[in-house]
């Protein structure tokens, strides 16, 4: 660019910017502008996802590998000691990232597929289907979710597949309500009417006309629902009716090692052991909440009341 004042022309300067920002560059600019909490959140999420994907490479020992010494103290061999039957806590924490987060993620996706599709269908249809689905959801939401999950688990038994399906179905009621509410505003738009008149089928209208316009609130909701599902599954596993041993899972790890906390006066490190998986759960939830907060702030355009 020519900065010489004598030959300077505004048109020249404007014309000289030829570079178009790629999605990646825009993302990078957005990220550098993000508040500290959001950066922290993104960092934590990346670390956890990395742990989950590369668990067998990072973990020093196997998921269910048993060593002769149960409740071993923290040492260089076993970073965080061993649990009640002698399994390495550090390795189980890493595998736990894969199991706990993986199950929660699968559940959230399933909940969004069910709730999202039914919510969209109800918003477009607006007749008996809408009435039926909305009233069903009202009744389902009248029962506390954890209690309902406990009832269903007692009937079907605690397997991972049952757990995913039960929590997903119960959680899809919330997704249904949100999807229906936000898409009701979009369904009345002219372009949707045009698409219907053009003879597009309901699936096309849902995917190509409405979905792109309701995506931001749904993505934010995905983060929040993930937190909620993640905490529910952790709570169920902690209660002993969720993910079953020997699968490493943070919720049940807290329960298995809880008695160590009584020895805090003698060995503070050992007493911290049951808190590690609980802290991992809390950390990931906080991280996702921070990122969702930032995303909502960006997409809704609402600034703090000042």
């Amino acid at each position: 660019m020519n900065k010489d004042t004598k030959t300077y022309s505004a048109a020249g300067e404007v014309g000289s910017i030829l570079e178009t920002r790629s999605t990646f560059t825009r993302l990078k600019i957005e990220l550098t502008k993000a508040p500290l909490t959001a950066k922290f959140g993104i960092f934590i999420i990346i670390v956890f996802v990395g742990l989950a994907i590369f668990a067998p490479l990072i973990a020093p020992y196997g998921e269910a590998e048993v060593f002769p010494e149960p409740y071993a103290p923290w040492s260089s061999n076993h970073l965080f000691g061993t649990d009640q039957i002698g399994r390495d806590i550090f390795s189980r924490l890493i595998f736990g990232a894969r199991n706990t987060v993986g199950v929660a993620f699968a559940t959230t996706i399933l909940a969004f597929l069910i709730g999202g599709a039914l919510g969209l269908a109800a918003a477009i249809n607006r007749s008996y289907l809408d009435l039926f689905l909305s009233r069903t959801v009202d009744v389902l939401m009248a029962i506390p979710q954890l209690i309902f999950a406990l009832v269903l688990l007692s009937i079907f038994g605690s397997t991972i597949i049952n757990l995913i399906i039960i929590i997903a179905v119960l959680d899809s009621t919330r997704v249904f309500r949100l999807t229906r509410a936000v898409s009701l505003n979009v369904v009345v738009m002219d372009y949707v009417e045009v698409a219907k008149l053009r003879g597009e089928n309901i699936s096309w209208v849902m995917r190509k006309e409405i979905l792109p316009n309701i995506l931001p609130p749904l993505i934010a909701e995905f983060g929040l629902r993930f937190c909620f599902v993640f905490l529910s599954i952790a709570a169920l596993s902690f209660l002993g009716v969720g993910i079953q041993p020997p699968t490493a899972d943070w919720g049940s790890m807290v329960r298995e090692n809880a008695s160590l906390i009584q020895f805090a006066q003698y060995d503070l490190k050992a007493a911290m052991t049951p808190l590690l998986p609980a802290a991992a759960i809390a950390l990931l939830t906080v991280a996702v909440n921070f990122v969702v907060d930032w995303f909502l702030h960006k997409t809704s355009g609402i600034k703090d009341e000042k």
């Binding site: 209690i147 002993g240 906390i261 805090a264 609980a278």
Partner: protein
Amino acid sequence: MHPVVKTVLERLGLGLATLFFVSIIIFSAIEMLPGDFGQAILGQAALPETVAAFRQELGLDKPAYIRYFDWALGAIQGDLGTSFSGRNASGADRSAEVVDKIAPRLWNTLFLASMAALIAVPLSLILGILTALYRNSFFDRSVNTATLTTISFPEFFVAYILILFFASLNQIFPSLANVDPDTNFGERIYRTALPAFTLTLVIVAHMMRMTRAAIINLLASPYIQMAKLSGASQTEIILKHALPNAWAPIATVIAFNLAYLVVGVVVVEVVFVYPGVGQLMVDAVRTRDIPVVQGCALIFAVTYILLNLIADIIGIVTNPRLLHPK
């Protein structure tokens, strides 16, 4: 008819309908069991006659709707059926009535929940109103960050941190909340202190944020601006203008969180080995003792629905627009 009475009656009707459908869902739990569950409960060695007698006792030879009415009428009169546990293959029956299992524990759970509510409700209302009044101040921002963090914590994490500091490192409170009917009132409060604090921490965050949002929402409405412009003092605005309209959202917030308490109590009872309904339910789920699960679920669901119903009704009877119709 006065619009308030009409709306209240409508809500009551809707609440009853919800209760009816919820009871059907909980009842059908037993319908969804696989066909051979009699065998599963009584053991592989059970004689066909024992299994048949067991099925007859459950009334599986009658149509489902008759069994539903039997069950619902029994539940209304306080009879929730007989537990599955304590039965064995030879047909000997040492099982207990579900009501006898639940009744003593229900009092414990109510005690714990009301203790948590008594601390949490005033605390969060005061914090909520203060943060709304001094919003965007340092106080507001620090309280907000703290609550956002505690919301993300699982109940058992909060519980174990409290145990670590107040029961293990410094032995101020007991880490196990074992109470029995003979425990006197003062001792009972001392032993349930940690579980009650845990529940308080978990619900204060929610309740405070919702109160803050409700008040800020209200303070932004035009009639408050009008009152401010007409020279009313801050206290006058809050007490005379904002509060009458705030009862409905505040009642909703409180009921929502007390309902949340109902669920939170399950995990907390298990952590502190507190003999309450929540722990009974979790144990019953593990042993798949369906009548006990049904009984506990019914109690939790009814409490939840009633709390929400009460909040709705408070919202209706304090609504100035309905009280003074044009």
